[in-house]
């Protein structure tokens, strides 16, 4: 009997620069929306997994999973907190999928889990700019920290190397920003809904040369949630899906760590964790990159979208920039990438980002979205959520 894990319901709050809401309130709002979407009563939830990266550093908060369980009325459910910097949301999702899969087999210490609620939330506005910058800059190795290196520093070095090695024009990076901002215009939960064209991106202030402001993701508040359900070969017990389509199935999920100190990578344009997690997830899902109909790629910096697309095998090394300029990754292209705006424009509340990618894929695979937001006929969705500048990656494949 094969156990399948399906995404029975999804929900998310708008991503914004300052939500004016507490962290638990944000998380609860997304969770309640997901439960309602799945038509699941809170009392039916067996396990809660809560992803958050920065609550201790910015919000002076602790015990978040228990606080959220109480707020939602999940008495008796198991609950835990997951942290994996920028990939916190996807790691929480991974934990939820594994929890259902492993517990289905039974064994010591294993309660059967039919329904898992996975929630990711971040309130980056809880800290002032100095404290947020400090908290994020602590994600790097301590010898990197001593040099004043930040995540945008890695982005600048990689972007310079990418343009130099592949003789690519600066417009290639700006085209990623313009595409993703354009995709966010009609996404009501996106943080930035104003169109940005290539010239705007090229004229924006330098952050870490050659990266400019519009090459970098923002700091955000927001939450996203999914309800995971299991089936054992028959009809799913809590799989509501929609009238148009059933709940998407988790066809594969995989994580991998990579080099912690970015400088130690033999090739600055190679990210081991991305490649390894990608190979694993394609193997587990039994598909190849060209089977993917829509992809959510971790574009914390525009250059990362290009590097990840190449590392994952969607494009040959040094060609993703040309594909982007040719429109291949646009909403109506051969491989629509970040149809909801990506981290770039939808926003990047660390704990919620990976789950917001799953929410976007579910909307796409269920055909929930209006025509100008939808990838027509999408049956296979892919997501990658990356921690730090690639020291940990989580890849997911969903099938309609």
């Amino acid at each position: 009997m094969t156990t399948e894990v399906r995404v029975g319901g999804v929900g998310m709050t708008p991503f914004e620069s300052d939500s004016g809401r507490s962290l638990v309130d944000l998380a609860a709002a997304a969770a309640e929306e997901a439960l309602a979407d799945a038509a699941v009563d809170p009392a039916a939830v067996d396990a809660l997994h809560f992803g958050n990266a920065l609550a201790e550093a910015l919000d002076d908060s602790a015990g978040l999973a228990n606080a959220l369980a109480a707020a939602l009325g999940l008495d008796g459910a198991s609950a835990d907190r997951i942290e994996n910097t920028s990939a916190t949301g996807a790691s929480a999702f991974h934990r939820g999928v594994e929890g259902i899969g492993s517990r289905a087999a039974g064994g010591a210490g294993s309660d059967r889990t039919d329904v898992a609620l996975v929630v990711g939330a971040e309130k980056m506005s809880a800290g002032d700019t100095r404290s947020v910058t400090e908290a994020i800059s602590r994600l790097v190795h301590r010898r990197e920290y001593a040099q004043g290196i930040t995540l945008p520093s890695f982005g600048g070095l990689a972007a310079g190397a990418y343009l130099d090695r592949h003789d690519a024009p600066r417009e290639a990076l700006a085209a990623v920003a313009a595409k993703n901002h354009g995709n966010a215009v009609d996404n009501p939960v996106a943080q930035f809904r104003k169109p940005v064209d290539v010239e705007d991106a090229l004229d924006s202030p330098i952050v870490a040369a050659p990266l400019r402001l519009y090459d970098c993701c923002p700091m955000s508040d927001g939450a996203a949630a999914v309800v995971l359900t299991r089936t054992d070969g028959g009809e799913p017990a809590t799989d509501r899906g929609t009238e148009a389509a059933p709940a998407p199935r988790v066809a594969g999920i995989a994580s991998a760590t990579g080099t912690h100190a970015v400088a130690e990578r033999p090739d600055p344009l190679s990210i081991d964790s991305v490649r390894t997690a990608g190979e694993r997830v394609f193997d587990r899902a039994g598909i190849r990159p060209d089977d993917v109909d829509v992809a959510c790629i971790h574009d914390a910096f525009t250059v990362l979208e290009l590097i990840e697309l190449e590392e994952l095998g969607f494009y040959e090394p040094g060609t993703a920039w040309e594909a982007t300029l040719d429109g291949d990754t646009a909403l109506d292209g051969d491989l629509p990438v970040n149809p909801g705006g990506g981290l770039k424009a939808r926003g990047h509340p660390l704990g919620a980002t990976g789950l917001s990618q799953i929410v976007e894929l579910v909307w796409q695979l269920r055909g929930d979205l209006p025509a100008d937001r939808r990838v027509d006929g999408a049956e296979t969705g892919f997501a990658i959520n990356v921690a730090g500048f690639g020291n940990n990656s989580v890849c997911t494949v969903l099938r309609a």
């Binding site: 100095r130 310079g160 952050v207 400088a263």
Partner: protein, 125 residues
């Protein structure tokens, strides 16, 4: 130079121009680790070596820096034989392929007591 008994290279705060070296196999590394990446020997008594001449792989000038870091912060990814690192450059004039060495004495973050060298170009004949 050896570390005090019980420490690993993770506990040792080296100057920017120093790397660790395995006493057994002479493998070099820059970013602290508990064991030699080649032979697996504990790094507790790893030697340290001065990095002499490297080649620039990539550069970036960072305008948006943490409050205690200079702005702009000129950075370079540099390869010193088997060791590769990112460090502050003295100025923004470096380019990929340039030969560099560490030089000078600078406070890399405000409030730190210690000083470290920065990368400078080597004038080729």
């Amino acid at each position: 130079m050896t570390g005090p008994k019980g420490e690993t290279s993770e506990d040792r705060d080296l100057p920017a121009d120093r790397a660790f070296a395995c006493p057994d196999c002479d493998r070099r590394w820059y970013y602290d680790r508990r064991r030699c990446p080649d032979c697996g020997r504990s790094s507790a008594d790893a030697a340290t070596v001065r990095l002499e001449t490297g080649a620039v792989v990539a550069t970036s000038t960072v305008e948006t820096t943490p409050p205690d870091v200079r702005a702009p912060n000129h950075l370079a990814l540099v390869r010193f034989d088997e060791v590769q690192l990112i460090a502050q450059a003295a100025d923004g004039e470096l380019s990929p392929g340039d030969r560099v060495r560490f030089d000078g004495s600078h406070r890399l973050r405000d409030g730190r007591e210690r000083t470290d060298p920065r990368l400078v170009a080597i004038d080729e004949p």
